[in-house]
Symmetry: C3
Subunit: 141 residues, 3 copies
Amino acid sequence: MEHQRFGHTILLTVPPGEEVVQALNEVAEIYHISLAEVSGIGGVDQVKLGFYQLDTQEYLEQDYEGTFEMLSLMGNITLKDGEIFGHYHGQFADTSADVFGGHLLASRVFATAELFIRDLGGAIDRSEDPETGIEVIAFEE
Amino acid sequence: MEHQRFGHTILLTVPPGEEVVQALNEVAEIYHISLAEVSGIGGVDQVKLGFYQLDTQEYLEQDYEGTFEMLSLMGNITLKDGEIFGHYHGQFADTSADVFGGHLLASRVFATAELFIRDLGGAIDRSEDPETGIEVIAFEE
Amino acid sequence: MEHQRFGHTILLTVPPGEEVVQALNEVAEIYHISLAEVSGIGGVDQVKLGFYQLDTQEYLEQDYEGTFEMLSLMGNITLKDGEIFGHYHGQFADTSADVFGGHLLASRVFATAELFIRDLGGAIDRSEDPETGIEVIAFEE
């Protein structure tokens, strides 16, 4: 991966064979991000989505292989117990322009991925919502 | 809902049972937003979309119920007759990763919604395009 | 098209009958953009997508006609040989809320398009990746 900072925004590119979510989280660590907005596009050949099950409070994982345009990666970076916590949703099109998407766990680049991390200069933590089991954003009181 | 401002950007979270579009517009009012870019993700169980009919110049409303990831909410906040006017498009995936979307009128949170409102520091009004009946952005002359 | 700059961000609207990608690139030229993040929504009646073929290293073009909400246009503006180079992915819904999308080559407005170009104040060039034939972002060494 390669990255460069322009003001409050980091441009990140991910080369073929590398994984986007891991790249985002690594770059967030390099620049000591504790609150950021994330967006990006790319071309990928493996996607892992997670579907949250309210009853079991776990993500059901689903894998996809093919030639996909990553139409939109949207989400944010916060902290959880002092560690980088990325929350990303992804949408992908196959070669018929059909779109699928969900909570993004991983996606491997075959062409390139071009992402923006906009550092908001603040720090936001997460804590588990006892009701849903989801790690939700916890504003300071 | 909870919200906090970081520089020009407001982070907004919407808890289970609350509605996203209303939350966005309420927060826009609190911070006196008159031009902003909006984006966000979440998990919702009710969605109301509107499909514009050029012939009747009205939105045909369509309701969806289920367990949906809100993959992307994208849009903007401007003013119309001095009031907050949110224009949002939304995309949603069901538990099979199938995606649907449209002009977003409402979506109720079941898990969380995490949104960014980026205040551009300007003011933009809307006025009705007599041709299409759509409230379009009106730049000052 | 109409456009106005607010700080680092340009708001661009595209009227009925005009084409979005061309409008974006024209505005980028007007404001001398050499690195920007782009996002937007709209209503369009013609869409041209490109599907990259790794074997031929060419985009296979596909045209769509109908009444579509442009749910998300996401991408970036950089330079290629000193010229504006827009890289955009688009997602569109028909009147049944079914979504399709891909690498966006063109889309013609029937209602309006409302776009943000966020100027990052830097300059990024592209060069062809000999492996894939794709014009990838080239950071300075």
